[in-house]
Structure formats: structure tokens, C-alpha cells
């Protein structure tokens, strides 16, 4: 399976290019196109109503929109149930109300995005390509950084936890207690301690996700327009990918007009320079017929298939 993320400034044509690539790849491969952008428009591009769900368009192409709100709610409801089980005596307090506030916490949206990516890839065993249309740059970089940030936190927390367990073990050995304090048996073995087990599971999950994002089968596609504003935002993405070790494999200069060739050439040169000369580069001319709505958006006049062989 190949996993491709279309990234770039809002309005540069990420969704259109992702749709066109999905359409062309689906001639010979099984393709799933997923919109992660909270302001979905994949359904609009294909003229159907996905309503935050999934639909098979034809034999090889399936479209999906991720409903972040629902995902965040489902996740928090699951955690809320786990909390209620653990703190049964607190059920008189209204835990659900507390958790309804949590959905506004920073990080929950990124977490929902990441979970949806992980789930999509895990469940998409028979697919050849999964294409993700990503949200605007800021949110994209945050959720792509999340596995690494989280792994760092998990490692630090696991180190403290390990010290606690070792000291509990020492106390138990000297006092010949079995770890009992005030009638409660405290775990000192890593496999017995719920928190340590949870941390280990989380580390495995995020390690796998991090490996997936950086892996050979994954590609970041940077879409840019021939203007200085989207070029500047592309710089942030290129730097972000380099920091996170994510594989930028294709740079697309989209909507290149026939006039103002000098600006387009300058942007192209700077884009090639910042992305690295070894990266594959695609120039997609501005199509007046598509821009004017006379042809479907996904029918752009460029052969994309070869660019997604990696």
C-alpha cells in the first residue's frame, strides 16, 4: 500500500490534485481518497454528498470524508466510560459534562486526525493507494508532529514510572511486604502496572504510526501556486518535513498561468531550490475550462500516474 498526503496552503488546489490523482490511479489500482480537511470539498469535486461518510464511486475508487467532531466525541466517550468504571464512587458527579468540555482542549482535533489516519491505513489492507487531502498547513504540521511529540512524552513518563516501580520493589524486598500500602496492593512489576502497560501500548502505537509516516511507502506531496504567498507557506512545510523526517517526494506547481511567465519561473526556481533538486517536480498549467466550471475539476490535463510510483 502507498500512502500519499497532499499538503500546501489553503486554495492552492490540494483537493483538486488529490481528486485528479485518485481518478487516474484508479484506472489500474484500488484507491481510497480521504479528506481530512474539516472544510470538506472532495464530495463537491465529484458532485456527490458524502456527509462525513464513505462511498464507493466506481469499482476501484472510494471516497471518504473524516468527521473530526464525531471522532473526537467517540474517543472522549470511550475515555469517559473508562473513567466512570475506575472511579465508580464518583458517578454521582456528572463526568459526562466534564468531558464535553474536554473536546475543546488543544490537541484533541489533531489526535482525531491521527487516529483516523491510523484506522484508515490499518483497515485498508486490500488498497493499493490511500490519498489524504490534508487541512491547512498549521494543523497538518501539528498532527504530523504529534507521533514524535507524544513518543517523547511517553518515554519521559515511562522513565519516571519505571523509577517508581523499582523503588516500590526495593521497599517490598526490604520490608518483606508484598507491596501492600493501607490494604491496597501496589504493583511493582512493569507488566502488572496498569499505567506502565498503557504507556507501553501507546508507545507501540505511536512508534508504528511514526514509522508509517516516515516509511518507504509514504509520500508527502507539496502543492504550491506561482505566487509568493504560497511559496512562503511552502517553506514552512518543507522545513517541517525536514524536522520531522517525513519524505517529501513530489512538488507540484499548480495553476501556472500562460501569462506572467516570469513570476512562475521565479517561483519554480525557488521552489526547486528549497525542496531539493532531487525531488520530482510537476508543473500543472491553469486550465481555463476547469476554472470556468466547463469540465469537472478532477479532469486536469496532466498525466499524474507516473509521479506516484515510488
Amino acid at each position: 500500500m502507498r500512502v500519499v498526503f497532499f499538503t500546501g496552503k489553503g486554495g492552492v488546489g490540494k483537493s483538486t490534485l488529490a481528486a485528479a490523482a485518485a481518478r487516474q490511479l484508479s484506472r489500474r489500482h484500488r484507491v481510497l481518497l480521504v479528506s481530512l480537511d474539516p472544510a470538506h470539498n472532495i464530495g463537491d469535486i465529484f458532485g456527490i454528498d458524502l456527509a462525513g461518510g464513505r462511498r464507493r464511486l466506481d469499482g476501484n475508487l472510494t471516497l471518504a470524508e473524516v468527521d473530526l467532531g464525531t471522532m473526537a466525541r467517540e474517543y472522549l466517550e470511550g475515555q469517559s466510560r473508562a473513567l466512570a468504571d475506575t472511579y465508580r464512587y464518583l458517578t454521582t458527579l456528572n463526568l459526562e459534562r466534564y468531558f464535553s468540555v474536554l473536546k475543546y482542549s488543544p490537541g484533541i482535533e489533531e489526535y482525531a486526525l491521527l487516529t483516523s489516519i491510523e484506522r484508515t491505513v490499518r483497515e485498508g489492507g486490500d488498497l493499493d493507494y490511500v490519498l489524504f487531502d490534508t487541512p491547512p498547513t498549521g494543523l497538518t504540521l501539528r498532527f504530523l508532529a504529534l507521533p514524535q511529540v507524544t513518543t517523547t512524552w511517553i518515554e519521559r513518563l515511562a522513565a519516571i514510572r519505571r523509577q517508581i516501580l523499582e523503588k516500590r520493589y526495593t521497599i517490598g524486598k526490604i520490608t518483606k511486604e508484598d507491596g501492600r500500602t493501607a490494604g491496597v496492593r501496589l504493583a511493582f512489576d512493569e507488566d502488572e502496572d496498569e499505567i506502565m502497560r498503557r504507556l507501553k501500548t501507546l508507545r507501540e502505537n505511536y512508534g508504528a504510526l511514526s514509522a508509517l509516516l516516515r516509511g518507504e511507502g509514504t509520500a508527502m506531496v507539496l502543492v504550491c501556486n506561482p505566487d509568493l504567498l504560497s511559496l512562503r507557506e511552502s517553506r514552512r512545510l518543507v522545513d517541517g518535513f525536514a524536522d520531522l523526517g517525513l519524505p517529501l517526494r513530489l512538488v507540484v506547481l499548480n495553476k501556472v498561468p500562460s501569462r506572467d511567465a516570469a513570476v512562475a519561473a521565479e517561483v519554480e526556481e525557488r521552489l526547486r531550490e528549497m525542496a531539493g533538486r532531487d525531488k520530482r517536480f510537476l508543473r500543472v498549467p491553469l486550465d481555463e475550462e476547469i476554472a470556468g466550471g466547463r469540465r469537472p475539476l478532477y479532469e486536469i490535463d496532466a498525466e499524474l500516474e507516473d509521479f506516484f510510483v515510488f
Binding site: L102, I108, T150, R168, T175
Partner: protein
């Protein structure tokens, strides 16, 4: 009969002395564990008190298993008004 009772009593006394020595030996380690548990909980729940916190969902994942640590934090917060007594107690100064 009396002898047996005496020996049992002596055994119990010696075991008690041993236990007291062992308890003294681990007192500092117990304190360390409590402080580590306190730090662990503070890191997880840092956002509640304005510390830089791990991603929210990480706290949410671990919170269901942290009843004990939350009690420790609460006790430490209650004791924090008399830190000097705390330290003296920890160092065994009466």
C-alpha cells in the same frame, strides 16, 4: 509452658525490632516514591495548574489509572503549607 510463652514473646519482640529497623531503612525510599508519584501526576495533569502539559489525549488515556497518584498530589498540596515540618519529618528531626 511459661518458657514457651516467653520465647514466643521474645520472638515477636525481635521480629518487631527487625520490622522497625527495616521500616527506618526504607523511610527515605518511601518518601522518594511519594515524590516521584507526585511529579508523575503533576506532569500528566500539568495543564490544570498551568504547567506545560503532555498532549491532552495522553492525560486522558492515563487518568483512569491514576487514582492513587491523584490522592498523593492532594495530600502533598494539603501539606504544602508547612514545608518545614515536612522536611524535618523526612530527615527524622524531632
Amino acid at each position: 509452658m511459661k518458657e514457651k510463652g516467653f520465647l514466643t514473646g521474645l520472638g515477636r519482640f525481635l521480629r518487631g525490632v527487625g520490622a522497625a529497623h527495616r521500616e527506618r531503612a526504607v523511610a527515605l525510599t518511601r518518601l522518594e516514591v511519594r515524590e516521584l508519584e507526585n511529579i508523575f501526576a503533576l506532569l500528566i495533569m500539568g495543564s490544570f495548574i498551568g504547567l506545560p502539559a503532555p498532549p491532552t489525549f495522553l492525560a486522558v488515556e492515563l487518568l483512569p489509572f491514576m487514582e492513587r497518584e491523584m490522592r498523593v498530589v492532594q495530600r502533598r498540596a494539603e501539606d504544602s503549607c508547612d514545608m518545614m515540618a515536612e522536611m524535618m519529618g523526612a530527615l527524622g528531626i524531632d
